[in-house]
C-alpha cells in the first residue's frame, strides 16, 4: 500500500486554491456592492453583463486552445475581421448569409493556425503572431482604413434587439454568450470529446497512445477559437451597428489575463470555460466599480496588471512549494511530530521535577 502523504489533497487551503476564481468573483461583487456608488442595480449589472458578453464569448475558444497547451494571439484580429465581414457584406447578402460567412472567416483563420501548428510544427505563439499581423493588413485592405457602419432601419432593429433587456441582466447577446459558455463548459467536462482536449494538453503522447487524434483535436481547438472569437465579434458589431478597424485590439490581453486568472494553465491540461467566464465577470465588476468610483484608466490598468501579477506569482510560488514537498513520507512526519510531542512532554516533566 502507499505510504506517502497525500499532498494538499484536502483541507481548506486546497479548496480555496481550487475555487480561487469564484472567491475573487464573490469578493469583487461584495466589495463593489458595499462601496461603489450605484453599483448594485439592474441597470448597472446589465451593463456589466453586456460589456462582458463579447470577451466572454471569445474567452471560450481561447480557453480551449490554452487547455490544449497552445496560445492564440490572433483572436483580437479575428474579432475585427468577423465584424468587418459580417457588416460589410450585409448590404449585399443580408445578415442571414453575412453572419455565417463572418463565422466561417473566423473558423478559417483558426483552421490555418491549427494546421500550421500541427503540420508544419511551428510554435503556436509564432504562428498566431504571424496570422495576427497578416489579418491586420488584410482588414486594412478590406476596409481601406474606414470603419463600416450600417444605419438602415433593419440594421438598427437588429442592433436594438440584441441590446434590449430580456430579463434582468440578460440581453439576447448576453444570452448567446451564456448559452455558448454553458454548452462548452458542459461539452468540455462531460463528454469524451471535451475531455480529450485536456488529455492533449496534459500530455500529447499519452493522448496519442490512448488513441486520441491529438493533432486533430488541436486543429479543432484552434477552429473553435476562431469561430467563437468571430461569434463574439460579429454580434458585438451588430449591436453597435458598426465594425471598427480596431474593435478587437484590446481583447487579446484582456482575455488572456482573464483566462489565466480563471485558473487555466498556460502549460495546458487544466482549467475550464466557466472559470474564464467567471474571471471575465469578476474583472468586469472591478472595472465597472472603478468607473463608478470615478477613478481613471490608470487605476484600471494598474489593477489589471496587479491582479494578474499576484495570480501568476501565487501559482509560481505554489508549484515551487509543491516541488519541495512532493514525495514526503507521512510516517516520517508522523514520527517527527510524535518525537516533538515526546520532547515537549519530557520537557514538561523535567520542569515540573
Amino acid at each position: 500500500m502507499t505510504t506517502h502523504k497525500k499532498l494538499d489533497r484536502s483541507g481548506a487551503l486546497s479548496w480555496v486554491d481550487h475555487n480561487r476564481i469564484y472567491l475573487i468573483f464573490v469578493v469583487a461583487l461584495l466589495v463593489m456592492t458595499a462601496f461603489a456608488p450605484k453599483f448594485f442595480n439592474v441597470f448597472n449589472l446589465t451593463t456589466i453583463s453586456k460589456t462582458a458578453a463579447m470577451n466572454a464569448c471569445v474567452a471560450i475558444g481561447f480557453t480551449i486552445v490554452m487547455i490544449c497547451g497552445h496560445l492564440d494571439l490572433s483572436i483580437g484580429t479575428v474579432i475585427t475581421l468577423a465584424g468587418v465581414v459580417g457588416l460589410g457584406l450585409k448590404k449585399y447578402v443580408g445578415y442571414e448569409i453575412s453572419v455565417p460567412l463572418a463565422l466561417c472567416s473566423g473558423a478559417l483563420v483558426g483552421l490555418v493556425n491549427g494546421l500550421l501548428v500541427t503540420k508544419v510544427k511551428i510554435s503556436s505563439f509564432i504562428v498566431t503572431l504571424g496570422t495576427m499581423t497578416i489579418l491586420q493588413g488584410l482588414i486594412y485592405q478590406i476596409t481601406g482604413g474606414n470603419s463600416i457602419a450600417l444605419s438602415t432601419p433593419d440594421a438598427f432593429s437588429v442592433a436594438d434587439f440584441l441590446g434590449h433587456r430580456l430579463i434582468p441582466l440578460v440581453t439576447p447577446r448576453v444570452l448567446i454568450t451564456l448559452v455558448l459558455v454553458l454548452l462548452f463548459q458542459f461539452l468540455l467536462s462531460s463528454t469524451r470529446w471535451g475531455r480529450n482536449f485536456y488529455m492533449v494538453g496534459g500530455n500529447k503522447s499519452t493522448a496519442w497512445l490512448g488513441g486520441i487524434e491529438a493533432d486533430r483535436q488541436i486543429v479543432v481547438a484552434f477552429v473553435l477559437s476562431g469561430l467563437l472569437a468571430a461569434t463574439g465579434g460579429v454580434f458585438f458589431a451588430m449591436e453597435s451597428s458598426a465594425a471598427t478597424r480596431n474593435m478587437g485590439d484590446n481583447s487579446l490581453m484582456y482575455v488572456l489575463s482573464a483566462t489565466i486568472i480563471g485558473g487555466t494553465a498556460m502549460s495546458g491540461g487544466k482549467g475550464g470555460v466557466f472559470r474564464s467566464f467567471v474571471a471575465i465577470l469578476a474583472l468586469e465588476i472591478i472595472y465597472d466599480g472603478i468607473i463608478l468610483f470615478g477613478l481613471g484608466n490608470e487605476v484600471k490598468i494598474f489593477l489589471a496588471g496587479f491582479i494578474l501579477a499576484v495570480v501568476v506569482l501565487y501559482e509560481a510560488y505554489a508549484s515551487y512549494r509543491h516541488d519541495r514537498v512532493v514525495g514526503q513520507r507521512s510516517e516520517l512526519l508522523a514520527e517527527l511530530s510524535a518525537a516533538g510531542r515526546g520532547n515537549r512532554s519530557t520537557d514538561a516533566a523535567s520542569s515540573r521535577g
Binding site: 502523504k5 475531455r195 485536456y198 493522448a207 514525495g327
Partner: protein, 498 residues
C-alpha cells in the same frame, strides 16, 4: 491467439526479426540497450506507421499503424517512460480514449467505480480525481500498469515495469502477471533484470544489434547463457572485488534530516572508498544525495568534508567544495540532449575554464580527449549531439562530465540504469579506478550485483532511516536484500551502536 511475426529488412533499429508469443505465456525479451527490444514492441503497439514486414494476430495479418488500431486488436503496452498526463486526473489517465459514456455524455459514476476497481487491482487506494502530479512517482508507475490492464488487452507488453517499484509492489505485480497468464493473455516482458526474468518468464528471446539471437524455454537456459548471448561473455567475471587501501575520513554526516524524506542520517566515508547505499524505492536515498549537493535544503544535522563543515547552498557551491552528483535521470537532469558531447562533458568546468569571465573551451580539450578515450565514448567525435547517442554512451558522457571535474566526493545515483552491459562494464571499471585514485564514491544503486560487487561497505536505508551498515565480507545480494526489506522500528543511531 498466436503468432506475431514481422520482418524489417534494412532497418537499423530492428532488422528482420520474427517473434512470436502465445496465449497464456510470459515471454521475456532481453538484450542490451539499443538491441531493438523497445523498438520492436513499439511497432506492435502501433507507434510507427512505416514499419516493414508483417504482423499477424490470431493468424490474420493486421496493419498496426496507430495506437488506436493496436488497441483495437487488444495490444496493451506499459512504457518505460511514464506515459501519463500530469495535470490530468488518475481516472482520466487510466481510462484515456475510452471514458465510459451514458448516451453521449460521460458516466461519472462508472468512471469512478471502474477506476477504483482497477486501482485496487494494483494495490492502490487513491482518489481517482487526483491529478497525477499530486501522487508520487511509484504510485504513478502503478497507475500506468493499471491503465494498461484496464484496457483488457489480450497481448500485454511490459517494458521495464518494475524500475520504480518497491519489492512489495514488484511481488504484487508478478502476482497479477500470473493471474493474467492464467486468463490466457500473451505477455511480453522486457527487462534488464535477469532475476526477475527467471522468476516469471516461460520463454526467453534474446536480441542483439537489432537481430534476434535465440528464443528458448526458460528451462533450457541459465542466467549465464542469457548474458553470454546478450554480450558474448559472462556478467560475473567482471566484479573483481579487490580490497582497496582507503585513506582517512573525507566525509562525515551527522544526524542529517530533511523533514518527511529522511531523518537522523549518520555516516562517514573515507577517501578512496566506495560506499554503497542500498534501499528500496522511496527509502530516501536520492533525497539524501540531493541535500548533500545543495539541491535541497536540510532541516537539521551537519555535514563535514575533510573536517570542515560543508553545507552547500546550491550545486555550484557543492562543486566548488568538491562534491558532485550524478543523477539517476540522465535524460532530463543529467544531459543537455541538444548539445554536443564536448559541451556536455565540459559543462561542469565552465567556471574553471573561464578567465575573467571569458570562457575558453579549448582548455578542456585534453581532458575531453582522454576521457572519451578512457570511457570509450563512441562515436569519438566530440561535436556529436548527445541526444543521438545510445543510452550507454549517453551515460558515459554523463560520468565523463563528473570525472572531468575531479570531485573529492562523487555521488553516483543509479549510474548504470538502463545501460547495456558493455557500457556498464566500462563504467564500473572507471568507478573502481576513481576510488583507487583516492576519490570517495557514494554509490546508490538498485542493481544489487553492482552494489555488492563494487562497494567496500554498504549502508542500508529504509523508509528514511539508515538502519544498518554492512562490511564487504558480509555483503551478498541476498543479505543486502533481506536487510533492506526488514522493518526496523528503532532509530538509526541504535543500529549504528549495535
Amino acid at each position: 491467439m498466436s503468432h506475431v511475426g514481422k520482418k524489417f529488412p534494412g532497418t537499423i533499429a530492428v532488422d528482420d526479426v520474427s517473434f512470436e508469443v502465445y496465449a497464456g505465456e510470459v515471454h521475456a525479451l532481453v538484450g542490451e540497450n539499443g538491441a531493438g527490444k523497445s523498438t520492436l514492441m513499439k511497432m506492435l503497439a502501433g507507434s510507427f506507421d512505416d514499419y516493414t514486414g508483417r504482423i499477424l494476430i490470431n493468424g490474420k495479418e493486421v496493419a498496426l499503424h496507430s495506437p488506436t488500431v493496436a488497441k483495437k486488436y487488444g495490444i496493451g503496452m506499459i512504457y518505460q517512460e511514464l506515459s501519463l498526463a500530469k495535470p490530468i486526473s488518475i481516472a482520466e489517465n487510466l481510462l484515456v480514449g475510452r471514458l465510459p459514456k451514458k448516451g453521449p455524455f460521460l458516466d461519472r459514476k462508472r468512471i469512478d467505480s471502474e477506476t477504483r476497481s482497477w486501482l485496487s487491482r494494483v494495490g492502490l487506494d487513491l482518489d481517482p480525481n487526483l491529478p497525477i502530479e499530486d501522487i508520487s512517482p511509484h504510485e504513478a508507475q502503478l497507475v500506468e500498469i493499471a491503465k494498461v490492464l484496464a484496457n483488457k488487452p489480450c497481448i500485454l507488453v511490459m517494458d521495464e515495469p518494475t524500475s520504480a517499484l518497491s519489492r512489495e509492489e514488484v511481488d504484487r505485480l508478478f502476482e497479477i502477471i500470473g493471474q493474467l497468464k492464467n486468463q490466457g493473455l500473451a505477455i511480453v516482458y522486457i527487462s534488464h533484470h535477469l532475476p526477475e526474468i527467471f522468476a516469471i518468464a516461460d520463454r526467453i528471446t534474446v536480441m542483439r544489434d537489432g537481430k534476434k539471437v535465440a528464443t528458448k524455454d526458460k528451462a533450457e537456459m541459465t542466467r549465464e547463457e542469457v548474458v553470454q548471448m546478450m554480450v558474448g561473455h559472462s556478467e560475473r567475471e567482471f566484479y573483481h572485488g579487490q580490497p582497496r587501501a582507503s585513506g582517512g575520513e573525507r566525509l562525515r554526516v551527522e544526524a542529517l534530516t530533511r523533514k518527511g524524506f529522511f531523518h537522523d542520517v549518520c555516516f562517514a566515508a573515507r577517501a578512496g572508498e566506495i560506499l554503497g547505499i542500498c534501499g528500496l524505492a522511496g527509502a530516501g536515498r536520492t533525497e539524501l544525495a540531493r541535500v548533500l549537493v545543495g539541491l535541497d535544503r536540510k532541516d537539521s544535522g551537519k555535514v563535514f568534508l575533510d573536517g570542515r563543515e560543508a553545507s552547500p547552498r546550491n550545486m555550484a557551491a557543492a562543486l566548488r567544495l568538491g562534491i558532485a552528483y550524478l543523477s539517476e535521470d540522465r535524460k532530463s537532469e543529467g544531459l543537455a540532449l541538444r548539445l554536443s558531447i564536448k559541451e556536455n562533458v565540459l559543462a561542469g568546468l565552465i567556471p574553471m575554464h573561464s578567465k575573467a569571465g571569458v570562457y575558453l573551451p579549448e582548455a578542456g580539450s585534453a581532458v575531453l580527449e582522454s576521457l572519451m578515450r578512457e570511457l570509450s565514448i563512441y562515436p569519438r567525435d566530440p561535436s556529436r549531439t548527445v541526444g543521438n547517442l545510445s543510452g550507454g554512451n549517453q551515460q558515459k558522457v554523463l560520468l565523463a562530465k563528473w570525472m572531468a571535474c575531479g570531485p573529492k566526493v562523487l555521488i553516483l545515483d543509479e549510474p548504470t540504469r538502463g545501460v547495456d552491459i558493455g557500457a556498464k562494464m566500462i563504467i564500473h571499471a572507471q568507478i573502481e579506478r576513481l576510488a583507487n585514485e583516492g576519490h570517495t564514491i557514494i554509490l546508490i544503486s538498485s542493481d544489487l550485483p553492482e552494489l555488492v560487487g563494487l562497494s567496500d561497505r554498504v549502508m542500508i536505508m529504509r523508509k528514511g532511516h539508515f538502519i544498518r551498515e554492512m562490511a564487504k565480507e558480509d555483503c551478498t545480494e541476498e543479505s543486502v536484500l533481506i536487510a533492506a526489506n526488514t522493518d526496523v522500528a528503532r532509530p538509526a543511531q541504535e543500529v549504528a551502536h549495535g
